[in-house]
């Protein structure tokens, strides 16, 4: 089976969709000539030409607004925001326009828009380039939020996002771009809103997404040494969220640790704990524990920054606490 990096898998998904559907077009800052800031769109201009792959000015709000208008014009735009931090500059267009229009206009306008946005910390980029904003965007009904963790899921979910008739914010973790993994040829789109149990276990469920799902898997392997059998659930979609899969797992293991890269207040973890309490409270043997990004802006200093991001050791320690409780 072919092994690709997360970056190559995304590039392959874009290439296949551009080739498959003439209504798909790609645009954003430096996506064409430059090949994308993170090189995800490399080679696509050469293959599909400037009509299909367009560079834009540094105008994030207008980039998303353009995507909105293209969708109204019957096309399936894929816009890249150079980083999710810049999505805040386009927040109005994403939230007040894109997310609400199908509803607000009485179901007249499907919005098949995909907004790709790399993010996450770990590269010493300081407080304005290291955000994990998944919780912010998952707040809004009307928007779908996807966060793949592996090359296979990155490709399959991007195919699905582009073909979906609803707006999708497609988050990519900058720390995963070079990660390698098997990506079957002819891979089909994965349905949005479905989580995967990526490792079966008996004693505790570790719930993660994006890079955090990878770290949860590493933590689960480390926990084997303590004879703790951890199940790992990779959420893949943060909105809609696959409550059935998560709740079924936690109801079975009766213990859970939720891992988020974002800040803890009003975050993905808080939402998961509340949702799980609604669904499986009486099955729980111990309180659910959250492992979150540190509640401070991302510092530049290397070790300090690392200390702010969940790691396998913190996740494993949380799991031990939950199992010992």
């Amino acid at each position: 089976m072919p092994v690709l990096t997360y970056r190559e898998a995304l590039n392959q998904a874009l290439r296949e969709e551009l080739a498959r559907d003439p209504d798909v077009l790609l645009f954003g800052e430096d996506v064409a000539e430059y090949g994308g800031s993170f090189k995800v769109t490399q080679g696509l201009l050469q293959e599909f030409g400037p009509r299909r792959v367009l560079d834009t000015p540094i105008s994030e709000a207008a980039i998303v607004g353009t995507a909105v208008g293209l969708a109204l014009g019957g096309l399936r735009p894929v816009a890249e925001l150079m980083t999710v931090n810049f999505a805040l500059v386009a927040f109005d267009q994403i939230v007040n326009h894109l997310a609400k229009m199908y509803f607000m206009f009485g179901g007249q306008c499907p919005m098949p828009v995909t907004i790709r946005a790399p993010g996450g910390g770990g590269h010493q980029l300081g407080a304005q380039h290291s955000h994990s904003l998944e919780a912010v965007f998952s707040h809004f009904p009307g928007l779908k939020v996807v966060y793949p963790s592996t090359p296979r899921t990155a490709k399959a979910l991007l195919l699905a996002a582009i073909r979906d008739d609803d707006p999708v914010l497609f988050l990519e973790h900058e720390g995963l771009y070079n990660d390698k993994g098997e990506v079957p040829e002819g891979l089909e789109p994965l349905p949005l809103g479905r989580a995967e149990v990526v490792r079966p276990g008996e004693d505790v469920t570790l719930v993660g997404y994006g890079r955090m799902a990878r770290l949860a898997l590493e933590a689960a392997e480390a926990l084997e040494a303590d004879e703790i059998s951890a199940e790992v659930v990779d959420l893949l979609s943060l909105r809609p969220l696959d409550w059935d899969t998560v709740a079924a797992s936690v109801a079975r293991t009766r213990r859970a640790v939720v891992v988020e890269e974002c800040w803890p207040r009003c975050g993905i973890g808080a939402d998961l704990v509340a949702g799980l309490c609604d669904r499986v409270f009486w099955e729980l043997e111990a309180p659910i524990v959250r492992v979150s990004g540190e509640d401070i802006p991302a510092p530049y200093a290397r070790e300090l920054e690392q200390a702010c991001i969940p790691d396998p050791a913190k996740i494993a320690a949380a799991a031990r606490r939950v199992v010992d409780a």
């Binding site: 000015p57 105008s59 353009t66 208008g69 014009g73 019957g74 109005d92 206009f105 009307g142 979906d164």
Partner: protein, 319 residues
Amino acid sequence: MNRQEVLRAYRQMRLARAFETKVAELYQKGRMGGFSHLYTGEEAVAVGALWPLRPDDHVLGSYRDHVYLLVRGTDPGAVMAELYGHSDGCCKGLGGSMHLYDRERNFHGGYAIVAGECPVAVGLGLSVKYREGDQVVVCFFGDGATNQGVYHEALNMAGLWKLPIVFVCENNEYAIGTSVERSSAERNLARKASVYGMPAEAVDGMDFFKMVSAAERAVARARRGEGPTFIEARCYRYRGHSMSDPATYRSKEEVEFWRGRDVLEKLRGQIRHDFEVPDEEFDGLDAEVREAIEAAVAVAEAGRELSLEEARKLVYVRP
């Protein structure tokens, strides 16, 4: 323009005026809620700017949007029902006054974030260019929009990519209660737009024929693939910004001055003179419009709101 055409223009303007007058009345009676921003006084801008359009052209507006739909041919009953929040409204009662939409007539909203529609127009323009069509996008906004960042981003991209867009700025001198002098470093809004690679001109928005001729030039240019045009329509709204605004920031004299240049009266005078249209014919049109408005109100009064269950189904195409 021939006799039939000018009478059609008169009827459109009369319908717009009568609709807004009725909305004010019903709003005051509590038949509808929210904000209601009326177009009264500015009718020549919408009717004139949309005059050269074909049904397959695209139109976007801001929150002061009732009249665009009427001009595009949306059933006044569907617009009125929307203001009532009823399920047979043009957005099933989910949009309301500021978020009207009519897919069938290529009216793409209805946006209540100032200048929010400007980049959306860029996307629509790009979709036309992408498909190598000759449709035109007309994008309306007020003078206040020209101070928003995204407005400048949108004009820059439209000019850069030579998109088939007509930007129509309704300069009614006030952004809510703040006058242009107090909000824009450049008072000449056409000049302010002229640096983005498009012709920009100021037009007397109180003169229907001047609006039409400016719009015809802009639309023809866009259809030829020559890119966007900016039209600053200098106009005036008779009422406050919305129904909740008594407009105390304007003098009585100022309002009287503009009302003295009323577009509807002026057009009627011109038509009567140039085409020798008798008063009875105008009266007939006025009666027809009155009936249409009464019918619209009847539709709205008879409707109902969507249930929560029905509304939930409209958040996603595929949940």
